[in-house]
Symmetry: C2
Subunit: 356 residues, 2 copies
């Protein structure tokens, strides 16, 4: 059976402001030292498993040109534009509809475009194991990340350590972001994994579950699928897609369906959720700083400083994030990184779109 | 007797880096909301007492054009350029030599060009009182600032509260920058003033004391004076000035001479010694911030933020100094403002003159 992939690249994350902007979200930024963008790395990573022409990118119209310029090897017809954002279930369904025009059935990897993975070979091993499990029956497989600390910003997957299928464990349930107390308990039981949002299944399996748990959405997706390649394709897509409710695949199917399996992984996954991730990704110097660009640090420790051409001089600083761009500079206390969105909210309210 | 003034504007202060540069030191910057530079304010302040054509500016060649453009009303021949920096005694002597070509004797105010004074009328009253005392005998008068807190960064003047002459007190001695302990004692005795570096005397008085306490320098200054207006003026100045030792007027004369008086003042004097002064000069907002330019502050308190065109967004900050310029940005913990010179030292070592 052919292995295909749908890479989801419609996100508009604001947590990397001022480097990320409305017209340049995180997945199109390079945050690693190799200069490659997140989406380029995502594609490159799976090439040993999926042929370039079997990789599909789901995004929206505004980012179509970015995808084309950053991924010129992806066939143009594989760039799927959602007319409006409707969360992951409709997005994945759109991918399934297009892939279904090429293959009667196929394995389908579903991957976010803005995560980083340090150990590619381990990741590929996990994917191969997942493909094996997903190839049987109508199993839905998700990659779970073995937690290393009690993170409260992720959802968790509770698996049954006694119910295995190959390298996979049966999923008992998906749980929302926990409190710190609860996250600590999860960590101790060793029966919880972080929900990475990476899925593997056959087209036939996901269609079956869409039909069962999201029948209206499924029917609209089939209408869209039938119109692909016809003169009505665009019109039908816009009408049907907008009519679907905004539902995540987790909520719409994974939390309800049967035959859900997870492959635990420890492949250096990072969701790169905020500027703080830069400390994990890049090497810190002897003062604990991560410094890029034209920077002089005096008595400065544990800071993330991302310069551009302009000289940045820091004196006596601790635990700050400093990011310079052509038109804006951010200075943020590390533990307040979550409040960066208050800046973008302020910019929205004041109609200062040039900075968004 | 005519009242003249010598404004000393040769300083190359680095404490306002990155706004102050080698080719734009502090006295040529505007740090107040009125947009006037420090040297412009210094001239404006004394105009009720001194005619424009009797104001002399001592600076160096590099700043001659800055002086001319910022003070176009000052006669060009009143801009005196020191060939090399030799501290305040030779500088003041050069001023006295030039003023002596115009007036046989005159009162001479000696003023730094980079201090701020909030209450001009009180300052003028103090100067008038000082002129009266300086007009008698060969008295040397200095303006002392009534200390408001135990500052350790200034020299102090010990006066005799029982020996008065008009509004002035006899000076017992000048003392170096004290420790905090000692500064606290000074404050309690109420017999110490801050040494402001502002002096008032007659030409004849300062010449007499130069002759007595700095005879070699005095003789070289007289050689310079004799050459003024001759074709050899430039050559003589360069030769004689370079040959003088580098000595401050405090050390060379004030600490040794007799008939030293001080007028205590409380006219809102500020030596604007570092970026921290901006908090004293400008209004802080309800969060304790002093903000200029294109700035968004989120949960930011007691910060000094001096922007230019670029948007500065601050999140979760406390007690920082942030200064943006066209080619460099400084982020400095307030209590480490003294370490800003470590940045400029680093730039010097690395030959990055473009930032100095």
């Amino acid at each position: 059976m052919n292995t295909t992939a749908l890479i989801m690249a419609g996100g508009r994350g604001e947590r990397f402001w001022p480097r990320s902007r409305r017209n340049l979200p995180k997945q199109f930024l390079s945050l690693t030292d190799d200069g490659k963008t997140m989406i380029q790395l995502t594609v490159e990573r799976i090439l040993p498993l999926v042929k370039m022409e079997d990789i599909y990118i789901a995004t929206n119209k505004n980012y179509r040109d970015l995808v084309r310029s950053q991924l010129p090897e992806i066939p143009e017809e594989n760039i799927l534009c959602e007319p409006v954002g409707r969360n992951t279930a409709p997005c994945i369904g759109l991918g399934a509809a297009h892939i279904g025009k090429k293959y009667e059935d196929a394995l389908m990897l579903v991957l976010p475009s803005d995560h980083l993975i340090k150990f590619n070979n381990m990741f590929l091993s996990a994917l191969r194991a997942a493909c094996q499990v997903a190839g049987e029956g109508d199993n839905l497989v998700t990659l779970g990340i073995t937690p290393t600390y009690p993170e409260t910003g992720y959802g968790y997957i509770k698996f049954n350590p006694h119910a295995t299928l190959g390298a996979a464990y049966e999923v008992e349930r998906f749980v929302e972001k926990p409190t710190l107390e609860v996250a600590k308990e999860y960590l101790e039981t060793e029966e919880y994994l972080w929900n990475s949002g990476m899925f593997i299944w056959k087209l036939s399996s996901i269609w079956k579950n869409l039909g069962k748990y999201m029948p209206e959405t499924c029917s609209r997706l089939k209408t869209i699928a039938a119109a692909i390649g016809t003169p009505e394709e665009e019109t039908v897509l816009e009408r049907e897609f907008a009519a679907m409710p905004s539902v995540s695949i987790d909520y719409g199917i994974m939390e309800k369906a049967e035959h859900i399996y997870t492959i635990p992984g420890t492949f250096g996954w990072d969701d790169v959720g905020s500027w703080l991730a830069v400390e994990r990704i890049k090497k810190t110097n002897e003062d604990g700083n991560v410094v890029n660009g034209n920077v002089i640090t005096i008595d400065t420790h544990n800071c993330i400083i991302q310069g551009k051409g302009k000289l940045i001089a820091s004196v006596g600083l601790r635990d700050l994030i400093i990011v310079d761009t052509d038109d804006a500079i951010l200075i943020c206390e590390k533990h307040k990184a979550g409040d960066i969105r208050k800046v973008t909210e302020n910019l929205k309210i004041c109609n200062r779109d040039e900075y968004l």
